[in-house]
Subunit: 473 residues, 2 copies
Amino acid sequence: MSEVKDITSRDVDFAKWYTDVVKKAGLVDYSSVKGSMIICPYGYAIWENMQKILDAKFKETNHENVQMPMFIPESLLNIEKEHVEGFAPEVAWVTYGGSEKLDERLCVRPTSEVLFCDYYKKIIKSYRDLPKLYNQWCTIVRWEKTTRPFVRSREILWQEGHTMHATESEALNETLQMLHIYEDFQRNYLAIPVIVGKKTEKEKFAGAIASYSLEAMMYDGVALQNGTSHYFGQGFAKSFGIQFLDKDNTLKTPYQTSWGVTTRMIGSLIMVHGDDRGLVLPPNIAPIKVIIIPIGTDEQIELETKKISDELKKSNISYVVDNSNKTPGYKFAQAEVKGYPVRIEIGKRDLENKEITIVRRDTLEKVKINSAEITTYLPSLFNDIQKNMYNKALARRDSMIYEAKNYEEFKEIATNKPGFIKANWCGDVACENKIKEEFNMKSRCLIDDEEINGNCVVCNNKATKRLYFGKQY
Amino acid sequence: MSEVKDITSRDVDFAKWYTDVVKKAGLVDYSSVKGSMIICPYGYAIWENMQKILDAKFKETNHENVQMPMFIPESLLNIEKEHVEGFAPEVAWVTYGGSEKLDERLCVRPTSEVLFCDYYKKIIKSYRDLPKLYNQWCTIVRWEKTTRPFVRSREILWQEGHTMHATESEALNETLQMLHIYEDFQRNYLAIPVIVGKKTEKEKFAGAIASYSLEAMMYDGVALQNGTSHYFGQGFAKSFGIQFLDKDNTLKTPYQTSWGVTTRMIGSLIMVHGDDRGLVLPPNIAPIKVIIIPIGTDEQIELETKKISDELKKSNISYVVDNSNKTPGYKFAQAEVKGYPVRIEIGKRDLENKEITIVRRDTLEKVKINSAEITTYLPSLFNDIQKNMYNKALARRDSMIYEAKNYEEFKEIATNKPGFIKANWCGDVACENKIKEEFNMKSRCLIDDEEINGNCVVCNNKATKRLYFGKQY
């Protein structure tokens, strides 16, 4: 059980707990390439599940996958002014091809707006060419100084959708449609109760008119932005000179969106659901739903293990069998580190009663069931676990959201209580900046479903908006 | 029909025909990033099918997907001497991160042997850690001077398997297992009759003990290497100091393989099967198997189109409907450019006889069938098309393989006849080099199933091997 003892308690040192879990669960490993990580088989299998589910949803909504170049010539990056200012400080520059110095340096894409625009300029000529609904799965690079597995790293696996529309309302609908696809996915598959809303002017994406984000609260009360969907209006399109001949025979500029989620969602999964024993994976995203642990090497136990395995296979339930020569205790602990939603123990004494022991990872509750019932029992158990994990995360999140009516209250909460703070705001960036400087809290997103009643939590002028504030890593 | 008229005849200018087809079928487009291409939705959908089929085969054979860093520090690339000499001249170098010059420059991976070895050194300690059977799907970069869509480009989408084994025989088996998985895939899905064999010392991969390749012959008789599987022995492992404690309690060095295929297979698909009307896709790899073309806008035709579409959907047969306002002739031509295996025409006169017209893309043969039979008719038609395409490609390939008994014969064939030449060889690289210099033909691979009887086609000394020679792009 040495493995488990090596996990730092999450209440003692959350950052250390996190790196212990990602490492011991076999999700990532460190490489000798500074700032880059290795995604190990178990971590990559989670990403493959995320890709499969999301990609199907993108295709259902008529999006098509493409692959754009990974390099952006400096002159191309420079076309949209706000955008280049946002990204140039954190890109990696290729300056040599073999032994030859390049005439123009190329950055490794930090995001691909300019590449898509450059292409759209070429292929969008008429209203018949619209909408264009492209997406790509790829790796992007941002030259971060400090890194943290899945959460902040120099290389990021993600998908980026880039769409062009004939009208503003179509583009706005697309922005919200994709935001809600993300939201449903994170709630229903990842069991993460994300808060969804519009970013402030200060926090929006470089070049966007409006950015929407999905904000998840980690166990320690810190916010993690789990995805974004942007409405660009005609900004990029104008900079790139993209125009189409509309039905009325006039030249118009199209409206644009982009949206993306990354492997950071794996970081959220860990930090929302994990506990001191390790990872806890929701059944709907777990690459392996069940671990079978035979206790002992008796022939009858072997037969039962084989029988149960065959049943699971037939019912299309993913599983592994731990046949190692370790002790049961060690195996249980390892299964808990890995976060398999359900553990089946097959022991001698149970067998005599035609029973097997089922342990759910989320609550660690044990039940004995008749082994013949296994494939009817499991699907409803998975449902229960999925729901319970969501509700537990929701309850914890809600218990860590506070309302601050004035600056004193804000200070009191920000200083003493981890979590999010809801507050009224006048709309002035100076007040947002003050919260950032004083408490290291950024605005997460606007609250759009609550009445605005009162004054700005910073300057005390009349409030025009309400905001979530939260710390980030 | 302007689109079709714009395709150059493949017998007039094959290179031009190829670029016309990749462009007009909507597979790729040129980007303003020199040397990089854009893979368009239809081209990317073919790659997705290839990935899906191969990935399932990799997983069936117990391989696991991972993701390694995309950058390689120069010092890491330098560890294996032959390897760095092979790749250093063609890598892209990152020298700046944001505005800061890097202490050590990083190349964008041209292949990931050194990254896997660096990682394996860390995680392989005992015989229990073996075998390690990792694969990754990613983009690699090679700084090519001249490019050709799918065939040679600066950015390449591929998969690379990297495995480590306790024994030589296990590693050799793995090398051949993966070679045969590729071979089966290319024969059965791509309908490409690949020639499979070992590379000569001169042509093997930088750092390998043995390289095996899959050699496809294009319509113009030129060879395209469609994939490789390498046996590394202990070379890299020794350079990296990878050792494991074996069952007998002694430290041993493991044996290694690597294997990969790329989007180049799409290039082969086009150049093996395409014709002057455009692409011809084998049903087993086509993203869309059927195009339905309603002729006219009559209500009855609309109903029948809907009925047929529903039937295909129910039978899980991928299809599109061309509802555009173009002429039937234009639609037929477009369908042919795209290479959909089967076209269904729904016309007024046919309807009166309860018939629909079926046109297969490979032979352009037309038949009329009772529309009620469609979903039983199609699967067997797909089978026929698949087989016919393979046999046609095989017959053409075989008709363009020649035997040269001596240098005069070799010269005669190499000068006048496109295709491959089989010849005896003494095993001396000087003779291989002479063929390369005189005729611009490289050895493709060794022939291992034919008796060696005679003298070297170049030096006339006793032959010890037989080779395929062929030109490449």
